[in-house]
């Protein structure tokens, strides 16, 4: 709790001004009698078709879709749990902690596989692997890395090409970046060696996947590590210059989750929206549901996702986080 109090204090200057949203969009008539507030970390473009198909059946409804980063989303919601009806985030650990702390409503009317939900209050509806994205032109003549170890070797051998051109999440700012980093660190020591190598190449740090992919597309960086595969694929289909690699040594696959605020004023509507979400993902038509469905990375490659369990809260512990951040900083920020 004190950790959050500290965070809130740190963020007070930001909140003190009017809340700055990454994006904000109202679907449906602004004068509609009923209103649903969705707080999300997912880019609006992915959610627009989902929300539109939801309000198509409900004429008296408008939906306000508010986008912010995963860590900030957590703070904003904890401060005003009654302001938002549905909370959607890719940071599974923060979402699970919200549910564990009793901020999520139990939705017993929804049926969902046991592994994709927690306490009938947190519902996963996508599977999205963390990917290595490379600039094809920069890797011409170089071996394309299939594993983290391959990436370490390529970067080490070509320090002159990649100096200042490698990007990854700033785990201090991004909740999702922190989740990916901690899960990587859990899985293998390779993660720390990779961080050392990236740090030695003057790593570029980002708050969000979108920014990283923008810079990749512009050629500002040549390699991005732990980018959301779904975002990268959305661009790679249009631009031939990028390749999305899912590391074959071990996968880190996140599930995007949704919960309904316990303090919601529209519990039935909010539950219907979450139900709509999980129905759409199982139907799986790409034009209705632009994100990878729950089954997308489960059955084909045997990749298992990060599981929804209380242990996700381990790295959210103040002492653990302090220790992890310190180690990460000492690896990635190597003074000249």
């Amino acid at each position: 709790m004190r950790y959050f109090a500290v965070l809130i204090l740190a963020l007070l200057p930001v909140i003190g001004q009017a809340q700055v949203w990454e994006d904000r969009k109202v679907f449906g008539a602004a004068t509609a009698p009923r209103n649903l507030q969705i707080l999300s970390s997912t880019d609006t473009s992915f959610f627009a078709p989902i929300i539109e198909s939801f309000i198509a059946q409900r004429a008296d409804l408008s939906v306000e879709y508010l986008v912010t980063g995963t860590a900030e989303l957590d703070d904003v919601f904890r401060q005003n749990p009654d302001r938002f009806d549905v909370v959607i985030s890719s940071a599974m650990d923060l979402q699970l902690k919200l549910a564990n702390d009793g901020l999520a409503q139990r939705l017993d009317g929804l049926s969902h596989p046991e592994w994709a939900q927690w306490r009938s209050s947190l519902f996963a509806f996508t599977t999205e692997p963390a990917a290595i994205v490379i600039n094809n032109a920069a890797f011409a003549g170089l071996p394309v890395p299939a594993t983290r170890q391959d990436l370490i070797e390529v970067l080490r051998a070509n320090a002159d090409i990649f100096e200042g051109k490698v990007g990854t999440y700033d785990v201090r700012q991004s909740g999702l970046g922190y989740l990916f980093a901690t899960q990587d660190a859990r899985a293998s020591e390779t993660f720390w060696r990779l961080m050392e190598v990236i740090g030695s190449l003057d790593a570029q740090l980002y708050c969000c996947s979108g920014d990283m992919i923008d810079d990749l597309a512009r050629g500002r960086i040549l390699v991005a590590y732990n980018v959301l595969g779904s975002y990268a694929r959305a661009r790679a289909e249009t631009a031939d210059m990028l390749t999305v690699i899912l590391p074959s040594d071990f996968p880190t696959t996140m599930m995007r989750t949704a919960l309904v605020s316990k303090a919601t004023s529209e519990p039935a509507l909010a539950e219907a929206f979450v139900g709509h979400l999980i129905d759409l993902q199982s139907a799986g038509a790409a034009e209705d549901f632009p994100l990878p469905s729950l089954g997308a990375f489960q059955d084909t490659t045997g990749r298992s996702s990060i599981s929804l369990e209380p242990a996700l809260m381990t790295y959210l512990d103040r002492l653990k986080r302090q220790t992890f951040i310190r180690e990460w900083e000492s690896a990635i920020i190597q003074g000249p």
């Binding site: 709790m1 209380p310 242990a311 103040r318 002492l319």
Partner: protein, 455 residues
């Protein structure tokens, strides 16, 4: 007779109540005990996991540069995953100050070291089980006390308990059903002995007052013993009174015969019609009296002999022919003819004295009611069984009394002015019953009575 007995409860119901009630109490006790035991074991299971989680967090505590560092493993909380997705809370204290985790959980008691403590308490609207452990870290300066509390809600535990409760309830109900079935079986077996005794009492003939000889369970011996002694006393007093009646009748006969002959002699002598009339009615009364005495004697003899039949082969037709011969003079006095119809084989194993007595009483009866100038037909036939009909042309039996007439001292309502004791039909019936037959009384369609002895 049973409707006269006062009923107070039922042995069968009482037994069944006690047995099924006992089974119900036992089933409830089993349910409570097993459920309590299961709850204890399930709670111990949860406590063990919480305790392991606390230990793994405490083990990770180190002092670095005078600061407590706690890099506890993922498994510390991972091991608390349950099927019901229980909520997990934890708190880490250093010397009583919250270092990390959730505020407001169980505050550690200072001074306790190796022992872990467990408590159930309310946290954030849910019942949680908390395990708390403490460890002393020895640093360069002063020892630091690190305490860790890990708490978990009890959804999975109560699911397990509900499942166990359901199973135990099914088991208890099964036990109860089986015990109830067994108790009904035991009850009916026990009561069956009583019913068997009742049946053997009910099936006895009206004259049978002999003691019970069949084996009975030891608990019923006193009852059967008293019953036997009661019956033997009854038998004795019955015999005594019958002996007394027979003796009395016997003693009256001789003096009555003397009075009768004197009255007849006097009747011959007197000429005054008034005196003759009173003498005639006197003689009729004496006749009635001596006839009753004779029948009482006959009845006593029949009762005695019926118990020990003197069996020999008797030709009924032969016997009846002789009887008709003997009674013809009496019949002629009343202008009545006796006619025997036979011609069928009529051999019977029985007591000739009794049989003769029975036939004589029937013919006597017919003579009493037969109008003058009629014939009494005695018919021997064997259709469908060997039987003897005594048919007269008298007024017949009164239809509404026909079933009662064979009782002792019962006389028909139309017998005014006729001599009789009411024992004639009783004697005939006792005899035919002793021979395994029956007395059937009916009225002939052409007028007159028909008394049939069927063998």
């Amino acid at each position: 007779m049973t409707e006269d007995v006062l009923v107070s409860g039922s042995l069968r119901n009482r037994l069944a109540m006690i047995l099924t009630g006992g089974a119900a109490v036992l089933a409830i006790v089993i349910f409570v005990v097993v459920r309590g035991y299961a709850a204890q074991i399930a709670q111990e299971g949860q406590d063990n996991i919480l305790s392991a989680s606390v230990s793994s967090i405490l083990d990770a505590a180190v002092l670095r540069d005078g600061m407590v560092e706690l890099d506890f493993p993922y498994a510390s909380l991972s091991m608390l995953s349950t099927a019901a997705d229980d909520r997990v809370f934890y708190a880490i204290y250093e010397d009583g100050v919250l270092l990390s985790g959730y505020a407001g959980l169980d505050m550690p008691q200072p001074g306790q070291t190796d022992e872990k403590t467990f408590a159930s308490l309310q946290y954030d609207g849910a019942t949680v089980r908390v395990a708390t452990g403490t460890r002393i870290l020895i640093g360069a300066d002063v020892p630091r006390q690190v305490s860790v509390s890990v708490a978990q809600t009890q959804d999975a535990l109560s699911e397990t308990l509900n499942r166990i409760s359901r199973n135990v309830a099914v088991f208890g109900a099964g036990f109860f059903a089986l015990s109830t079935a067994l108790s009904f079986w035991a009850t009916s077996t026990t009561i069956g002995q009583l019913s068997r005794l009742t049946n053997s009492v009910t099936r006895r003939g009206p004259q049978d007052l002999s003691p019970f000889r069949k084996p009975v369970p030891s608990e019923m011996v006193p009852l059967v013993g008293s019953l036997n002694s009661l019956m033997s006393r009854l038998d004795q007093s019955l015999k005594q009174s019958e002996d007394f009646i027979a003796e009395a009748a016997h003693r009256m006969r001789t003096p009555l015969a003397t009075v009768r002959s004197n009255a007849e002699a006097t009747f011959q002598r007197v000429e005054n019609p008034e005196n003759r009339n009173s003498l005639r009615s006197m003689m009729r009364a004496i006749d009635e009296c001596s006839r009753a005495a004779g029948q009482l004697l006959d009845h006593a003899m029949v009762t005695f002999r019926a118990e020990n039949l003197d069996r020999e082969t008797v030709d009924l037709e032969e016997m009846l022919r002789e009887l008709v011969l003997r009674m013809t003079p009496v019949a002629e006095l009343r202008d009545v003819a006796l006619h025997l119809e036979g011609g069928v084989p009529a051999l019977l194993t029985g007591d000739p004295v009794l049989l003769q007595n029975a036939f004589r009483n029937l013919i006597d009866n017919a003579l009493k009611y037969a109008p003058p100038d009629t014939t009494i037909v005695i018919r021997v036939h064997n259709d469908p069984t060997l039987a003897v009909d005594v048919l007269d042309r008298g007024p017949g039996f009164p239809p509404d009394e026909i079933d009662l007439l064979a009782g002792r001292f019962v006389r028909g309502s139309d017998t005014k002015g006729r001599i009789g004791s009411g024992l004639g039909l009783t004697i005939a019936q006792d005899v035919v019953l002793a021979h395994g037959g029956a007395l059937v009384l009916s009225n002939r369609s052409e007028g007159g009575a028909c008394a049939t002895l069927q063998f």
